[in-house]
Amino acid sequence: MKKFFTIFCFLIFLFSCSPKKVEKGVVIWHWMTDREEVFNKLAEKYYKKTGIKVKFETYAPSDVYREKVRAAAQGKLLPDIYSPLGDLRELASFIKAGYIEDLTPYMEEGWKNLFFDNILRQNYYDKDNQWAVKEGYYGVPIDVVSIQIFYNKNLFEKAGLDPNNPPTTFEEFIEACRKLKTAGIQPFVSGFAEEWLVNVFCQSFEWQVLGEEGIIKTIKGEIKYTDPRWIKIFKLFEKMSNEKIFAEGVITMLNKDAERVFATEKAAMALNGSWGINVYKGMNPNLKYGVFLPPKLKDARYPVKIWGSSSFLNVNALSQYKKEAIDFLKWLTEEEQQILLTKETHNIPSNKNVINYIEDENLKNFASNIDKIFPTLPILEHWKVVSLKCRGLQSIILNQKTAEEVASELQKLKDEILKEQSL
């Protein structure tokens, strides 16, 4: 009897460890919890239309989502639709491991014509890409986000600035900051604790000074970071730091903190993404603001460009519901669904035919500048170099390092990486 009881307990333990039964249908993992409601609405609509169940599961914040996706990939437990939330280098690892479906045949059927080409190409690999991924389209953009500078019209007016004519050149930008400071207003805020944001601001100057060719040559090591053009870019941050344009504590602010500072009218300008429109609406519905492009440099050789991306979704190549997943994404990017997404989430739709349905004036401004989004480069700078550049920029803002010191540290690291890569 005792033995029987022991074996019984052991069997219960074993069976309690058996895997959970998975419900049939398409499962999507997303990282934006604020969209859960509209996603569920769309899933219900799709079920009524096709009889196919779609389940959205949201996991936030995005870095937690990223980790979840990576852990699931190692256990081959990825859902039918997801996103690795990474650059082309990281996406390439997923594709090469067989976790992402090549969508080229479907895109070539005409699907690709729905999207902005420069956005769609962010998940596209050229023929001779550095990661040796088969040429093609691997992701479906759901919406578009880009980054510009928001400005508070009331604070501009208070400082004697024209609220309908924000600065366009770097000189005008500095002059506006001076006037704001004189009026006792913090001029500029952003979440510069997040390295990528300080990098985005710097990149808007890099594209003007170096252009695509110059940036690629730098990545290849043909232009050094100690080149006068790079020093000039870093000097812009020195100038902004000396003019004390940055809000108190900008270097340790996450973007959420910076959004609060701008929404509560503690700073007059904020470098932020188009998602900010929705955020500010929630934080301060009466905020009167506009948006403008990053300032143009006087002797820039190239036009102003801005950072932009999309919420790409990728289809799991190992999914047993691959066809259903692709069909759902096709349906999701159709005009009707895109209009609903735009109205409910206040984002720029990825379907370019829906642009005219945008109601918000500021979002219209963002949408009108989609053509200015940085083109996707065929090669990427090493993350360590990018990280050191961001830290260097933070040091310049803190007046701890000069532009020349940052440039020389960067070049030293770049040389080491190039040497390692050549071995």
Partner: protein, 292 residues
């Protein structure tokens, strides 16, 4: 002569625990060590064996890792001294039987049980250069010239985090030290008092020697706990400004987030070995002191 048969029933009952321990402790430990010899992005099916290269790079070519170690060491030094002295002082006062001692015991133990991330976010608001209550208080009492963006200033950021860490951590030391103090027989103090020893002498000649093993336990726990600090740093500064508050775990996390699993695990192994060595040294010193 009869030989006792192994008790199969007993084995079956501990089997779940052994399985769990093997899956969640032994296997990750072995896997971490194995991965440290590879270059791997965490996704690719192919792992490239590179021998000791990661170790060589960390030991001889990564000043940022050692800067992170130094930052953690500074916080640890402050925790070992200031935090534990405060904990000891409070434990001695409570042990004397002050009024409301149960209330104080509970209050002192609240910070350690709070979530590190929550504490970090709350203190981030306290330190905030725009809204922070600390700056508001300083301004109110006429010390406006001392206001700063505490976490954005490279001179104050690390110490600001250390203060929060000590505030959050002193409760642990307090509880252990208080438990140690309560094991000392009261008769010893009474005899010493009859012999004319004042409070200070009683502390030096009775409390301190008898509390030595407890001091070592608290020290080991403080070192291990503080060197591995992560949640506070991550929620308050993410290692910034410009790397001024980077600690080993945030640095390792950064490499993990950038899919450099081989390098990150090699750092974790080195870091683990350093902590292990520190603990061994402390145990040896503790034993020697006990003997003397």
């Amino acid at each position: 002569m009869t030989t006792k048969k192994p008790d199969l029933n007993g084995l079956l009952f501990v089997l779940p625990a052994i399985i769990m321990f093997s899956i969640f402790t032994v296997y990750p430990f072995i896997k971490t060590f194995q991965m440290s010899f590879y270059s791997w992005d965490g996704i690719s099916p192919i792992m490239k064996f590179i021998g000791f290269k990661n170790y060589k790079d960390i030991l001889f070519n990564d000043p940022l890792f050692w800067k992170a170690m130094l930052n953690a060491a500074i916080i640890t030094f402050l925790a070992l001294t200031v935090q534990n002295l405060v904990a000891l002082l409070l434990a001695v006062i409570i042990d004397k039987g002050v009024k409301f001692n149960k209330f104080f015991r509970t209050v002192f133990f609240i910070p350690p049980i709070l979530s590190g991330i929550v504490v970090g976010i709350v203190w981030k608001w306290i330190y905030d250069g725009n809204y922070g209550i600390l700056n508001a208080i300083l301004s109110f009492i006429g010390l406006k010239e001392y206001t700063t963006a505490w976490l954005s200033n490279t001179k104050t950021a690390l110490f600001s985090i250390a203060v929060v860490h000590m505030w959050k951590g002193f409760g642990w030391g307090f509880v252990i030290l208080l438990a140690g103090l309560q094991t000392i027989p009261k008769e010893l103090y009474e005899s010493a008092a009859i012999d004319g020893a004042d409070d200070f002498k009683q502390f030096i000649y009775i409390t301190a020697p008898l509390m030595l093993p407890v001091f070592f336990i608290v020290s080991i726990l403080t070192i291990l706990g503080t060197m591995q600090i992560f949640d506070l740093v991550y929620s308050m500064t993410r290692g910034g400004p410009a790397g001024a508050t980077e600690v080993p775990v945030t640095y390792i996390y950064k490499y993990l987030a950038n899919n450099e699993l081989g390098y990150a695990t090699a750092m974790a192994v080195i870091f683990g070995l350093i902590l292990f060595s520190l603990s061994i040294i402390q145990i040896i010193i503790s034993r020697k002191l006990k003997k003397t």
